[in-house]
Amino acid sequence: MVDFLRDFIKVLRLSDVRISSSETIDAMKISSIIGLDDKNLLKESLSQSLAKSIREKEIFADCFDNFFKEDFMNIDDPSEEEVHEKNVSDKIYDPQNNNDLESLLKTSDKTALMTSLADAASEVGLRDIKLFTQTGMFTRKILESMGLEKLNNDIFQASREGNNKREEDLKEVRERIRLEIRDYVEHQLKLRTSESGKQIREDALSQIRLSQVDKSDFALMTGIVRKMAKRLIALHSRKKRKANRGVLDIRSTLRVNQQHDGLLFKTLWKRKKVDRPKVIALCDVSGSVANVARFFLMFLYSLSEVLPNIRSFAFSNKAGEVTDLFDTKDIEDAAAETLILHGGGSTDYGQSLSDLEGFIENDIDRKTTLIILGDGRSNFGDPRTDILKSLHEKSKRIIFLNPEPKTLWGTGDSEMNRYAPYCHKAKACSSLSDLEKVVEDLLRYSF
C-alpha cells in the first residue's frame, strides 16, 4: 500500500500538485483508516490531505481516476497479494522459475497477467520512464523479464519440429502479450509525463544562457520568470508587513518608571522595527544586450512587485525613469514599451550615469542599493567612473550584473574592469537561475 501511495503521490507531484512529506504521512494514515475497498471514499479522503486548492482538487480527481483505472492497484497491498499467490501460484506465475508466458495468457486470467506484468514493470524500473521514445525499450525489457526467452525458444523448437500450428499459436501469444505490455507502458507514460515533459524543459531553460534563448521559448520563459517572482514574493512579502504599535511593554514600562517612584508616568509600547530598503535599478536596453534586456526588464518588473521602494531606470544612450510604467502596466506591456521608449540606441554609459545621478541625487542615501544590469560596453565613450565612484560613496551597495562571462570583461569596448572596483558586487549573471540567486541574496540582505 505504501508503494502505491508513493507512486500516486509521485504522479501528483509531476502534475504540479505540491505535496509535502507531512501531507504524505497524513495520506498514509488516512488510507489506513479508510481502507482501500471503497474507491470513492478513498478519493474523497485523500483529496482532503493531498489537494489544497480548487485547482489542485481538479488535478487530483483526474490523476486519481487515471491512476486507479488500472485494476491492478491492489497488487501492492500485501493481503491481496497473498490471496493472489494462493490462487495463482499453482497455475502460473512463479518469478523464480522461467515463467511461462504461454500458459499465463491461455489461462485467460487477466488479473494474473496484470499482476505479473506489474511485477515485471517494477523490476525493470518502469516508474522512471520519462520520454515517449523509451516506450519500445521498456516494452522489450518487461517482455524479457516476463520470460520472452522461453517463449522464443518454444517457437524456435516448434518451427524445427515442423509443428506449424503450434508455431503460429505461440507467435500470436507473443504478439498479444507484446501489445498488452505496450498498452500498459503507454498508459504509465501518459500518467507520469503529461506534465513532467514541460518541467524538464523549464528546468533546462532556467539554466540556459539568456542570450541563447530561442524566440519560440519566450512564452515559456515569461512563465518561468513569473514563477520565480512569485516564489520570491511568497518568501519575502511576509516580512514586508509592518505594525507600528504593538502591545504595552510592561517590563520596560515598569523599568523606566522606577525613577518616578513606581508611578506610571511614561508608557512604553512594543514596536516593530521597519527597515525600508531603497532599491534603484538601472537597466541597459541597448542593442548590444538586446537578447537579454527583455528578461532583465521582466525581472526588474517582478522585483518591483516584491520591493516596496524601487525606482527603475532604463537606458541606452541616455537614461529615463520607467517606475511609473512598471507600476501601471502589466509585465509584458511594460517591458515592450520600455524597449520602444529607451531601447535601440547605441550605448553610452557615461551619459546615462550622469543622467541617473541627476535623477536620484536627492534620493540616494546610506540605505540605498543600486543595481545595474548591463554589459558595460560603452562604445569607447567616456565611462565616467567618477560618477560611479561618488555613487559608491553615497549608497549602501552597488551591484553590477553583467550577462557576459568574466573572461570577456575588459575586452574590446568593455569598461567592466574599470567599473568593477566601484561596485560592492560585480557578477556575471547569464541565466535566469543566476538572476534569481542574486535577487534572493539582495532580498535577504535588505530586510
Binding site: R18, S20, S22, E23, D26, K29, I30, I33, I34, G35, D37, D38, N40, L41, E44, S45, S47, Q48, S49, A51, K52, S53, I54, K57, A234, S237, R238, R241, A243, G246, V247, L248, I250, L254, G262, L264
Partner: protein, 308 residues
C-alpha cells in the same frame, strides 16, 4: 462495508438530525479530523454553510462553540490572551505597601533582596491573565469546537502565529509556560479565498472544499430547513436557483439565500412559481441591481426549463 464507512454514515445521519444536510465529502472530513486530530480548512463560495458546519458540529457533539472572527489587524492580544494591566498595576501598588513588612526585619541590602526574591510573585500568573478565544478553546478541559472564521481576512502574521496552536493544540505564554487542555479542540477554519492561504497553514489542515450543492442536495436542505414547503414548489424553486447559478452574475445566489427565498414564498402562500412572482421576489436571491437586470429576461425560460 467497512467500519469507517459506517462511522461516516453515522456522522451524516447525526448532522441531519441537527438540520445540517451534508454530503459524503463533508462527513468524511469530519471523520478524518476526529481520527487524525487535524483542523479542517473549509473553503467555498459565500453562503454554502461553512460556518454552519462548525455550529452543527458543536451541537451534535454537545461541545461549546468558540468563534473567532478574523479581520485585518487582529493580533494576539485580541485572539490569544492579554494581561490585565490595570490589576497588575494595582498589584504593584499593593506590593509597595507590603514592602515594608517584608523587608522590615532585614538589615542590609543583600538580605532584603533575598527575602524579596523569596516572596511569592504572582505578577505574571493566570490570575492576571485575560483569556481570549484561542486560549479558551485550547485550555478547556471538556473540549470545544473552535471556529476561526474568515481566516483570509486576517494578516499574514496572524496566520503564522496560528501554526503552533493548530499543530500542537497548545499555547505558549513566555512568562508562564505552555498551556494545554486535556481534550484537543475540534478546529474549523473558513476562508472565502479573498487571498491565498499560506502553504504552512494549509499543510497542517485537512482541506475541504464545499461547492454549491447539486439540485438533489439542495432540495434536501430546503426540506429540512423549510419543512412547510410543498414538494412541487420545492422542486421548481431549486431548479430555478440552479439555473440562476449558470448565469454570468456578479454574486451567485447562495444556499442561505435559497432558504430565505423558500421561506418568503411559503409566507406568501405560493403554490407554484410564475414569472411575475419571481420578478417581485428576485431581490431576495440577488443582491445587485445589475444581476437582477441580467436575470430578468431569462426568468420565463428558466421557469419553463425548471418545470420540464
Amino acid at each position: 462495508m467497512s467500519a469507517s464507512k459506517n462511522a461516516i454514515d453515522l456522522i451524516q445521519l447525526n448532522f441531519e438530525k441537527e438540520g445540517y444536510i451534508c454530503n459524503l465529502q463533508i462527513a468524511t472530513a469530519i471523520y478524518l479530523s476526529q481520527n487524525l486530530n487535524k483542523p479542517i480548512l473549509v473553503e467555498g463560495p459565500p453562503g454554502v454553510g461553512k460556518t454552519e458546519l462548525a455550529k452543527a458540529t458543536s451541537e451534535w457533539m454537545n461541545k461549546s462553540l468558540i468563534r473567532l472572527q478574523c479581520y485585518e489587524g487582529l493580533d494576539e492580544a485580541k485572539a490569544l490572551y492579554e494581561w490585565k494591566y490595570g490589576k497588575q498595576l494595582l498589584y504593584t501598588q499593593v506590593l509597595k505597601d507590603k514592602l515594608n513588612d517584608i523587608i522590615s526585619d532585614k538589615s542590609g541590602l543583600e538580605s532584603s533582596i533575598e527575602s524579596l526574591h523569596n516572596f511569592d510573585d504572582i505578577f505574571f500568573s493566570d490570575k492576571f491573565l485575560e483569556p481570549r478565544p484561542l486560549l479558551k478553546a485550547v485550555s478547556d478541559d471538556k473540549g470545544t469546537v473552535l471556529l476561526i472564521d474568515e481566516i483570509d481576512k486576517s494578516d499574514d502574521e496572524f496566520e503564522a502565529f496560528l501554526l503552533e496552536i493548530l499543530s500542537d493544540y497548545q499555547v505558549s505564554i513566555p512568562e508562564i509556560g505552555t498551556i494545554k487542555g486535556k481534550v484537543k479542540p475540534i478546529v474549523f477554519l473558513t476562508s472565502n479565498n479573498t487571498r491565498e492561504i499560506g502553504d504552512a497553514l494549509k499543510r497542517r489542515c485537512l482541506h475541504l472544499y464545499i461547492p454549491f450543492p447539486d439540485a438533489k442536495l439542495e432540495e434536501q436542505i430546503i426540506a429540512s430547513r423549510v419543512p412547510d414547503i410543498e414538494k412541487k414548489l420545492k422542486t421548481e424553486l431549486v431548479n430555478f436557483v440552479q439555473n440562476l447559478r449558470d448565469l454570468d452574475l456578479k454574486k451567485l445566489p447562495s444556499v442561505a439565500e435559497t432558504i430565505d427565498w423558500a421561506k418568503s414564498l411559503v409566507l406568501l402562500n405560493v403554490k407554484s412559481l410564475d414569472a411575475n412572482l419571481v420578478r417581485e421576489t428576485l431581490n431576495v436571491l440577488l443582491k445587485f441591481q445589475s444581476d437582477i437586470d441580467a436575470a430578468d429576461s431569462e426568468i420565463e425560460a428558466m421557469i419553463r426549463k425548471g418545470n420540464a
